[in-house]
Amino acid sequence: MSLKDKLVSSFLAFENHVDIDSKVHDIRTEAIKTFENKGFPTKKDEAWKYTSLNSVLKHDYSVFPKQENALAYSDVKKYFIHDIDTYKIVLVDGKYSSHLSQTTHDGIDVCLMSAALSKPKYQLIIENYFNKVATKDGLTSLNTAFSKEGAYIHIPKNKVVAKPIEIVHFSTGNEAALMLQPRNLIVVDENSHVQIIERHQSVTDNPVLTNSVTEIVANKRAIVDYYKVQNDNLNASLIDNTFVEQKRESHVSVHTFSFGGKLTRNNLNFYQNGEYMDSTLNGVTIIGDKQHVDHNTLVHHIEPNCESHQDYKGIFTDNATGVFNGKVIVNKEAQKTNAFQSNNNILLSDKATINSKPQLEIFADDVKCSHGCTIGQLDDSALFYMKSRGIPEKEAKGLLMYAFSNNVLSSVKIPELKQRITKLIANKLGVNIGFDL
């Protein structure tokens, strides 16, 4: 049985476990039909031209892990920003881990999607926001059909959340192969500010496929800083579907750090519904081996006087492949839009490849839009210059690559996170950098 058939046929059993009377039931039923029609994307779909899911869909994934599997904090501590206090929503094999989590209902809601979907208290927010900004493509619909667990974050107006929120999905290898479908909803109301760090981490080498959907709503003047740390092991694949709806004067940034994983596809979509706002999409990708990372971004400028900034850096070695597909749409009404996009890549081996494709669809006339894409090797004259000062080749290369990704790092606002990313980059590049840039 194909994975698609398996998923479709297990839907009934899944629905029996959850609350059939809930409003979400209709949404799920609709969604499974959409998935049944559309299925998984193939390379025939324009947006999937350079990314084939064949190699990750071939496993016989268990779609509902049966056993509970506990993780000891000491074993997974390193995956948290443990030197600062944070809220934590932690899922282990798709199930809530209460002892690893630190949720709250004190003025803000940082809790579980399962609770939000079932309790009357959250009904209004769910009705207003759940599955609203998410699109109805095959993968997102598949997630919607099985949406049950994940992070639910609601920040009412005028709150600056003092601690960052960590959303961590662990898989334990309890099942030979596991498919996860986390569903997150983040609603940030007027004037509020929140920082969120998301991570998917498999603790064994068993294959894992995560098809994640995150909906983020930033209401008027809200500030949301979202960081995705993708450093999973080489048998774990991730399809991340993130949808951001912004209202007037809001500021949303999403940083994506992609270092690990077998196949990673980031579908990152921004919809600007209002004036005077900005959206920031930054990424650093450093991969080798046969790893594949695909950034597929969309920024839709709907109203006037808004900005978007995209800055993606990639370093590819061995047989690694990268894709950057950045789409910017500027509606006819969206005058005075400033939309910037840049994608810079370094290829360290002959066998590494990057496909970089900007797509600008501009229907307004008074706009500033730019895009730039570079693909290069390390600069030999810079290397000689550094070596002539006594810096060995390996360190010189590391320093150059490190400096290359620096722009993106400098906009990380959580110092402890920045430090970790710095270390991850240094490790990934095999250099020992004795200072902070």
């Binding site: 004259s381 810079a382 210059y385 550094m386 070596k387 810096i391 840039l437």
Partner: protein, 250 residues
Amino acid sequence: MLKINNLHASVEDKTILRGINLEVKAGEVHAIMGPNGSGKSTLASVIAGKEEYEVTEGNILLDNEDIEELSPEERAHKGVFLSFQYPVEIPGVSVTNFMKTAINETRKAKGLEDMPANEMLKLIREKSELLEIDRKFLSRSLNEGFSGGEKKRNEIFQMAMLEPKLAILDETDSGLDIDALRIVANGVNKLKSKDNAVIVITHYQRLLDHIVPDFVHVLYNGRIVKSGGKELAHQLEEKGYDWIKEEVNA
């Protein structure tokens, strides 16, 4: 200290150096002059170990050791320093961080521990004052957006930090105004001792008024065609290179 014997070098099958002989002893200052395109920068790069140049004949001895097989960084660790005619921009790496890395890598190569942070700061302060470099400058990306003069001054700052045994200054005077020239020359002179040596590549007498050479060599068409004392530089300043070219071609 440095002995170059019958050095031939080429790049992309094009011969540039055609038999250079030069001996530089500790405590000496040598000037190398010559028309554009004669091979001065190539000679400097070959001594520093730039890989794209191929030594086809002859050798370079540093303290009696043939350095042909040494990488640029190994030569640097042995005390070779090249002040570039065109310093390279390194975006994203500050002057300070670059120097910290260079100094600690050099120490590591000698089996020493990293320089303690306070000592490093003191050294940076001392040397930046010597070259009258503003502190703000040190946190900027190396050479990025620097003016020609700033780049050259920064090269000598690096030289002061690294205290090389053999410094090669490739047209360090170009791009410098009179004041900057005096500051840079003063910096070089402060570092001069009986144990180190300097090779100054220049077109002009004016730098040599400040850094006084013991020997002046004229490089033309890949060979040293004339050597003399500091008066040769005055002669060249007055008469240009045509008379030398005529002598050679005769």
